[in-house]
Amino acid sequence: MRVKSIITFSIISSFFLFSLISIWKILSTLQGIELKTLNFNFYFLSGIIISFVSIFLSEKLNKLSIVIILSSVFVLIDYFINSSLPIWHYIGTFLILLFFVNKLSKYNKKNFSYNFSTQIIFFDFLTLFGIIFFSFVILFPFYLMLVTSFKTQALLLINPLDFSIDFTQNIKSLFKSYIIVFTEYNFGKYMLNSSIVSIGTVIITLLLGIPAAYAVARLNFFGKHFLSTSILIIYMFPAIVLVIPLYTVFSQLGLRNSVFGLLIIYTATTLPVAIYMLQGYFKSIPKELEEAGIMDGQNWFGIIVKIILPLSLPAIASVALYVFMIAWNEFLFSLMFLDSPSSFTLSRAIQFLNVGAETPRQYLMAGSVVVTLPILFIFVYFEKYLVSGLTSGSVKG
């Protein structure tokens, strides 16, 4: 049991070390450093050695000295193997080793005699690996988007792996892509259009959705059951089956190429989910409060405005943010209904740039950053509300 555990431990931990170092090397390579190999054999072997030494030393030395000694030795060997790399690369490697050996030093000989120690070790490292792997995989495209927008096409053609940003240049040339995107490609106008459409959709959806949700949640009327089930069914119908009839009708009515037409469509497609989410919340509000309102002689308008609304602000915030996100990110309808650049939304404009083949990629990426940043900012800032919106409204996606 013990031998098996120790062997598993060293193999898993050296895989972990290798993946950490590889990610660091990839990031360094993307700063223009010449690293031609990931050197699996070396790092795997040193991982095994480090893990054995750390178990062996764990009873003789205190934790801190093990961590520092092993990391320094490793970085020194690394330095002799691939010398002439910039100093920050080694510092990074050293920090990674500190982290790694620190994790290792939690295990000593005692740990390996527990029941299921192999499994526990396996799950521990899998979790660690998973966290790093998932963060890397998720963030890498966003990182690429951001750094590309600060490069130029010519520099990327010379070395497609050099994404280092030259901070010594003046601000104007650093943010050149953004300036061009806003001046020459007119992104200010598109941003305005996107904002108008998204905020307009949120307002109209709430104005129409709150009364309807209240009726579905509270009042008795013929067809109520039918309405509340059909809301869900309608919601699950995809945009692609609506697009042909809407396109033909909107063409004949002359509603294409208008932000207003888009606003109507977005409102109609988000209303079902808004009603669905709101009525669920309204049902949870105690009925006695409304009965008190009726006693005071309020009509339904008074009840909604004075009793329901103040109590359900969090739910309304989640619905509003969720609807805003859908409208801001929407692509298919804006592709079908907007042909003239003056009415483009951001998503449509970026697609238009991409189709126009010769747009340098840093402008494309700068545009992508411009459309992505606001929604990510809103998400991070209002995470609580948006996450509850995502969960309750996520029958769609």
Binding site: I26, T29, L30, T37, F116, Q119, I120, F122, F123, F134, S135, V137, I138, P141, F142, L144, T148, L156, P160, L161, L208, A212, Y214, A215, L219, N220, F221, I234, M236, I240, V241, L242, V243, I244, P245, L246, T248, V249, S251, Q252, I264, T267, A268, P272, I275, F331, L332, L346, I350, N354, L364, T372, I375, L376, F379, V387, L390, T391, S394, G397
Partner: protein, 419 residues
């Protein structure tokens, strides 16, 4: 008394729901039904415009005759394929002028020329020339003639409203040799995208459900791909995967892992040798599925994490006392607790992946073996321009969708009964 109260209640309810119901009906339900209508018709994209009579007015002075003016109307039928019936024309002129030798189809009544052109066939063109002179021989003012624009009216069939139906669209859809492939591609994309997203969702939720520093940071980071606009993400991935200048290929080349760049989005098949057997992997489709998983596993993550956090701690403590290891705990406690969420997630994601259009459209445009049913709707309707065919394909989608929804609601009903 209660009768009137409930009547008031009903009336209020209808008033409250009506605006929302109307707009949803107009924009969502009506199109679904009109899809049925259009799918039985032969309509091309170019037929959508209703034909209308048009006239371009050109005003010319006449040489050496100050009191005369020549007006040319370039008349035409805007449609190249449809006739217009009963075309009426009217234009207004200044006081004090009268037409000379007016065309016999026209009349001059109280400063207006009114003409009755009858029927215009498709592609119809004509030049109508009218001379005017002042009644008292004064000099004529050209400017005044340019003030008014001619008004034309005509009756034309709206091709969408005629009642000639045909089954040919559906015949074409089902007999097309690609149809089987289309269904298969859609199924692969939907099934593997869904399963992949759920598997990664379980893994990531299981990780984040433990205590470590930076946990809330990781939790928000994992949701980024789901929240960010698909356009930006798809183009970033295109840059990442590009065979020539893409970062991924260059990295792999740099580390000598591959010796030739791989066109991950543009190559239909790649041969893989396992134990000497050759397998053909749908490369572009796989890449698109990976993008799909990357973008939507956060949703599965969110759901499963919420469920995991609701699992009572006592269960794990009891398992510890019984001497169960991590694997046993996961299989016997965690998994049974999340199967309900997973089955609902599976259905939701399945339905939505089945309908997904934007992701594939932006990444490959449906090329190299990634054409799914929704992409085909777009291609038939707008690239080829056959609206009827596009509608027929989307009818296939609607029917399959209704079938999936039936299963989904059965499942939800079953879950509701259980709890």
């Amino acid at each position: 008394m209660s009768n009137t109260l409930s009547k008031i209640e009903k009336r209020t309810a209808y008033a409250l729901t009506l605006p929302a119901v109307l707009i949803v009906f107009a924009i969502v339900l009506f199109p679904i039904f009109s899809n049925v209508w259009i799918s039985f018709k032969e309509v091309q994209l170019k037929d959508i415009r209703i034909p209308e009579p048009r006239a371009k007015k050109i005003v010319k002075s006449v040489k050496n005759e100050d009191s005369k003016i020549k007006i040319i109307y370039k008349l035409r039928n805007s449609s190249l394929i449809q006739d217009i019936r009963d075309v009426k024309f009217q234009d207004k002129f200044p006081n004090n002028v009268q037409p000379v030798d007016l065309d016999e189809r026209c009349k001059f009544i109280s400063n207006k020329v009114q003409c009755d052109f009858g029927d215009w066939s498709k592609k119809y063109r004509e030049q109508l020339v009218i001379f005017f002179e002042t009644k008292n021989g004064e000099k004529i003012e050209k400017k005044l003639f340019k003030l008014n624009k001619p008004k034309l009216k005509g009756k034309a069939d709206n091709i969408l409203l005629t009642t000639d139906f045909t089954l040919s669209n559906f015949k074409k859809v089902f007999t097309n040799y690609e149809f089987k492939d289309l269904l298969l591609t859609t199924f692969y994309y939907t099934f593997f995208g869904t399963v992949g997203a759920i598997v990664f969702g379980i893994l990531s939720a299981q990780m984040v459900n433990q205590n470590f520093r930076g946990r809330s940071f990781i939790r928000s980071t994992l949701l980024f791909p789901y929240v960010a606009p698909v356009v930006a993400l798809a183009f970033t991935w295109e840059l990442l995967l590009d065979p020539n200048s893409g970062t991924l290929n260059n990295l792999l080349l740099n580390y000598n892992i591959i010796d030739k760049p791989i066109n991950l989005l543009g190559q239909k098949y790649v041969s893989i040798f396992v134990f000497g057997f050759e397998f053909k992997l749908r490369l572009a489709l796989t890449t698109v599925i990976i993008f799909e998983i990357w973008r939507y596993f956060p949703l599965a993550f969110l759901f499963i994490l919420a469920r995991l956090q609701a699992v009572p701690k006592e269960l794990y403590e009891a398992a510890d006392i019984d001497g169960a290891g991590p694997y046993t705990k996961f299989m016997n406690i965690t998994l049974p607790q999340i199967t309900a969420v997973i089955s609902i997630l599976f259905m939701i994601r399945f339905i939505w992946n089945f309908n997904k259009f934007e992701d594939i459209f932006l990444l490959t445009g449906g090329a190299s073996g990634t054409r799914t049913l929704p992409i085909n709707v777009y291609e038939q309707g707008f690239s080829i321009g056959d609206i009827g065919m596009g509608s027929a394909v989307s009818m296939v989608i609607v029917l399959l969708l209704l079938f999936f929804m039936l299963i989904y609601f059965k499942l939800i009903g079953k879950r509701a009964n259980e709890s």
